[in-house]
Symmetry: C2
Subunit: 481 residues, 2 copies
C-alpha cells in the first residue's frame, strides 16, 4: 500500500533526463514553492519557498552585519532623469524597466521607473550625506524586490519581479573598494558552498559580460544538473565612475576634495533555482539541512495505536529543544503518502516511529538522498540526528562537486568546443585571446558565453580556442541560465 502511494507521487513528476525544464517546473509546483500569479512573469512565493528565502536572508544578513554593513531602505521608484545620470548604466537597464506614468488620477510630469537595481538612488543619497573622510566608508545593504521587464520568465531563474539584496558601499580609496568587492564575493562563495552545498567558481567577468556601469564585475558561477551554468552572485567595483556622474565627493585629511570609490553586490531568489537544479532528483526537491525549513519530519506509523502519537510528539519536542527544525505530520494520510510528500519537499531526514520501534526504544531514520535506513536508539536521538544532518550537508556538497567535475571539460579548438556543447554540456575550460570578436563568435556558434576568467588560472594551451592567436586567459565557458 505505502509503496503504491509512493510510486504514484514519484510518477507525477517528469524525469530530469526526459525533460529537464519540465522536471524543474514540476518541482517548483509540487514542492509548493511557487504558484503562478495573474501578473505576467511574476510569481507567488508560497510559504515553503519563502521559508527557504528567509533562511538564506537570515544567514547572509548576519554575515553582512558581521562585516560591518547596515541595512537601509530606498524608494522603489527612480525618476527617469536620475536613472540617466550614468551613461552606461542607463543603456544597460532602460530597455527593461517598468514605467509608472500616472499617480492617482494624474499623469506624472516625469515618469518613474520601478527600480531594476538601486545604484542611482544610493549615489543620489551618498552625494547628500558624504562630506568628509570621517563619513567613510558607507557600508549599506538593502533587502527588497526589483523589476526587470523580461520577456521569457521561469520561476526563481528569471522573473519580472524578484527578491534580492543589494549592497552598496562608498570608500575613500580605490584599494578599499577593491578589497570590499572581493570580500563580498568571498562571503557569497562561502555561503553557497557551506550553506547551500553548491560549489562555485570565483572569477572576473569579461568586458562584454560585466555590469552596466561597472569598472570590473566578479562572479560566482555554479553548474546545474543539465550542464548549464548559473550566475549565482555578483560583486562589482565601480571605481569612481558613478561618483563623478553623481558628484559624490569628500574632503580628505589634507582638505582636498576627492571622489569616492564604490562597489555593489547582490544575490537573489535565483539561488533557490540553483538549489533545485544542483541537488534535486527524480523524487523531487533535495534541500541541504542548513537551509531546509524542515530538517526532520517525524512520521508516526500506525498512529491510531496507543502511545504512538505521544512518543512521536516527544521525539519532536526533544529535537526542537536541541535546535533542530522539526515537524510532525500527524494528519490522517497514509504513511507512504507522507513519505513521498516530504521527499518531494526535499526534507533531509525522516524519522518513522511505530509500535514495534517503541518496543525496541528506537526510531527509523531515513535520509532523503541515499534513502538509507538507520535504526537509532532513542537514547541517542539528538546526537544521531545532528550527526546525520551534518553528514547529509557534506555529502550533498561532495556529490555536487563530483557532478561539476564530471561535467567540466577542456577544449583547445572550436571543433572540440562545439562537440562538447552539443554532446556533453557542461563547463568548458578554454584559453582566450581577450578579444571581443572571439567571444562573440563562440556565442554565435555554440550559444556558450564566457562565465568568468577564474581566479585560479590553468594553462590549457598557449593559443586562443577560437582564433589560435596568443592566449591571455583561461576562461570557463558554458551555456547559462
Amino acid at each position: 500500500m505505502s509503496n503504491n502511494k509512493d510510486k504514484k507521487m514519484v510518477e507525477a513528476i517528469t524525469s530530469m533526463d526526459v525533460d529537464f525544464a519540465q522536471w524543474y517546473t514540476d518541482i517548483v509546483k509540487k514542492a509548493d514553492l511557487v504558484d503562478y500569479s495573474s501578473v505576467r512573469g511574476c510569481m507567488i512565493i508560497r510559504p515553503y519557498g519563502y521559508a527557504i528565502w528567509e533562511n538564506i536572508q537570515k544567514t547572509l544578513d548576519e554575515k553582512f552585519k558581521e562585516t560591518g554593513h547596515e541595512n537601509v531602505y530606498m524608494p522603489m521608484f527612480i525618476p527617469e532623469s536620475l536613472l540617466q545620470k550614468e551613461k552606461d548604466h542607463v543603456e544597460g537597464f532602460a530597455p527593461e524597466v517598468a514605467w509608472v506614468t500616472h499617480g492617482g488620477q494624474e499623469e506624472l510630469t516625469e515618469r518613474l521607473c520601478v527600480r531594476p537595481t538601486s545604484e542611482t538612488l544610493f549615489c543620489d543619497h551618498y552625494a547628500n550625506i558624504v562630506q568628509s573622510y570621517r563619513d567613510l566608508p558607507k557600508l549599506y545593504n538593502q533587502w527588497c524586490s526589483v523589476v526587470r521587464w523580461e520577456k521569457t520568465t521561469r520561476p526563481f531563474l528569471r522573473t519580472v519581479e524578484f527578491l534580492w539584496q543589494e549592497g552598496h558601499t562608498a570608500h575613500a580609496t580605490a584599494e578599499e573598494a577593491q578589497e570590499e568587492t572581493i570580500r563580498m564575493l568571498n562571503v557569497y562563495a562561502d555561503f553557497c558552498e557551506n550553506v547551500l552545498a553548491i560549489p562555485v567558481i570565483k572569477g572576473q567577468k569579461t568586458e562584454k559580460e560585466k555590469f552596466a556601469g561597472a569598472k570590473a564585475t566578479y562572479t560566482i558561477e555554479s553548474l546545474m544538473h543539465d550542464g548549464k551554468a548559473l550566475q549565482s552572485g555578483t560583486s562589482h567595483n565601480f571605481g569612481d565612475g558613478f561618483a563623478r556622474a553623481f558628484g559624490i565627493q569628500y574632503t580628505d585629511k589634507n582638505n582636498q576634495l576627492q571622489y569616492v570609490h564604490q562597489t555593489s553586490w547582490g544575490v537573489s531568489t535565483r539561488l533557490i533555482g540553483g538549489i533545485i537544479m544542483v541537488h534535486g532528483d527524480d523524487n523531487g526537491l533535495v534541500l541541504p539541512p542548513k537551509v531546509a525549513p524542515i530538517q526532520v519530519i517525524v512520521i508516526p506509523v500506525s498512529q491510531h495505536k496507543e502511545g504512538v502519537l505521544e512518543k512521536a510528539y516527544a521525539i519532536r519536542d526533544r529535537l526542537a529543544a536541541s535546535g533542530i527544525r522539526v515537524k510532525i505530520d500527524d494528519s490522517d494520510k497514509m504513511p507512504g503518502w507522507k513519505y513521498s510528500e516530504y521527499e518531494m519537499k526535499g526534507v533531509p531526514v525522516r524519522l518513522e516511529i511505530g509500535p514495534k520501534d517503541i518496543e525496541k526504544n528506537q526510531a527509523v531514520l531515513v535520509t532523503r538522498v541515499s534513502r538509507e535506513k538507520l535504526f537509532i536508539s532513542l537514547d541517542e536521538l539528538e546526537a544521531k540526528v545532528s550527526e546525520t544532518l551534518d553528514k547529509v550537508q557534506k555529502d550533498l556538497y561532495n556529490k555536487a562537486l563530483e557532478m561539476r567535475n564530471k561535467k567540466t571539460y577542456t577544449a583547445v579548438n572550436l571543433e572540440e568546443f562545439e562537440k562538447i556543447i552539443k554532446e556533453t554540456p557542461g563547463f568548458i575550460k578554454a584559453m582566450w585571446c581577450g578579444e571581443r570578436g572571439c567571444e562573440d563568435l563562440i556565442k554565435e556558434k555554440t550559444a556558450a558565453t564566457a562565465r568568468c576568467i577564474p581566479f585560479e588560472q590553468e594553462k590549457i594551451s598557449d593559443k586562443c580556442v577560437c582564433c589560435g592567436k596568443e592566449a591571455k586567459h583561461m576562461v570557463y565557458w558554458a551555456k547559462a541560465y
Copy 2:
C-alpha cells in the same frame, strides 16, 4: 565645555511646544532616521531608522509565527481588472494608486497598479489553492512595501511608499474569522504597549471609517504629544464578501460548497512616527529599550588616559555578552558632543567611564529621560544595567499613559466638544447616536473624527453629543494623523 556643546545640540531642534510639526521634522532628520529622496513623497530610511523597523519586524514576526502564521510573497503589481473585482475595495483604493503603463519599450495592454494593499492578490491565490476544508485555515502574512499616491506626505506618518506587513487569512467559518480578527488586534495592542511602551485604545471603526471592502474594521488608537490620535494598527473582518467576488469556495465535511471567511490586518513604519510623537522630547528622540537599536552607549571620558579605552571596551564586551545591544563611541569627539548626539538618537542608557571611575571601580549611568545620574559598581554592571533598562521601559509606558489620561476629555454637547478641540486637543469621549449625519457634522465643525467605538464602553450621557437623540455608543473622537 560639555554643557555648552550639549546646549548647542539642544538649541538645534525646535521645541515641540513652539512648533510640533517642525520638532517632528527636526527629529527624523537629526536622529538620522530618514533622508529625503529625489522621489516625491518617498523617504530613504537610514540605518538607524531601519534598525528600529528591523526590531519591530523581528518581534512581530515571532508573534505571527507563534500564532501559526506563515510568510509568503505576492507580486507588487495588480492588473486593473483584478483590482476591480470587489466593488467597495476598488472604489476605496483606485483613486490613490500608481499605474504602470509601459514595460520596456512597449505599452501594456492592461495597466498594472503598484499594490496599495494586497487583498485582491491573496484572494486570487486562495481561489486557486483552497479546495477542501482540509486546506483551511490559510494563515498568511507578507512583509513588503506598498504605494498610495498621497498628496501631502510626512516621513513615517504618510508617505507615497511605506513598509508594512499585511496578514491575510481564510477560514471555514464566520466565527473563526472573527476570532482571528480580534486575536491579531490583541497581538498589535500587546506589542504597542509592551514593546513600544505606547498605550492604545482598542475598538471598532464606524461604518464611515472602516476599510474599503471590510465587514468590520477594528483598530488600536494611540495619542500623540500634541493631542492628535494615531491609528496604529488595524484588523479587518471581511466576512465572505471577497470570497464571493473572487469565488473562493471549499467543500465542507458534508461535501457542500461553502465560501471562506477572511480577515486582513496590518501595521506599518507609521509606528516609528508614533514612537517619536509619544516618547520624544525637546532633546530629541526617546526610544523604549525593547525597540532601541542601541540600548546602552558607552562613552569613555579622558579616553587618551591610560587604561580608559581598555576598560570601556571591557564594559562593552560584558554587556554585549549578557545580550544587551551596546555600542561604544571611541571617536575623537568631545564627551559632551557625544552625550547630546546619543540623547538626540534616544538611546535609553548612557554609561560614562573615566579615570576617576576606574579608580573607584564604578561607572556613571545616565538615563535618557530622567537624566538621573547613578554611580554603579562594576561588580554589578550587568544586573544594574538590565534593571535600569526594565525600569526605563516601564517608566516610558507609565509616562505615556499619564499623558494620554491627562489629554482625554469628555463632552456631552457640541459646544463642549468644540471648546476642547480648540483649546486642549486630545481624545474626547462622547456619546453618539450611530448616524452618519452626526459623524459628518462633527468632522465639519471640529475636524475631529470617530477614532473608534471602544470595546470598553462607558456611559457619558444618554444622548448623542451632536443631535441629542438617544445614544448608541460611546466613541473616542480626536483629530488624527
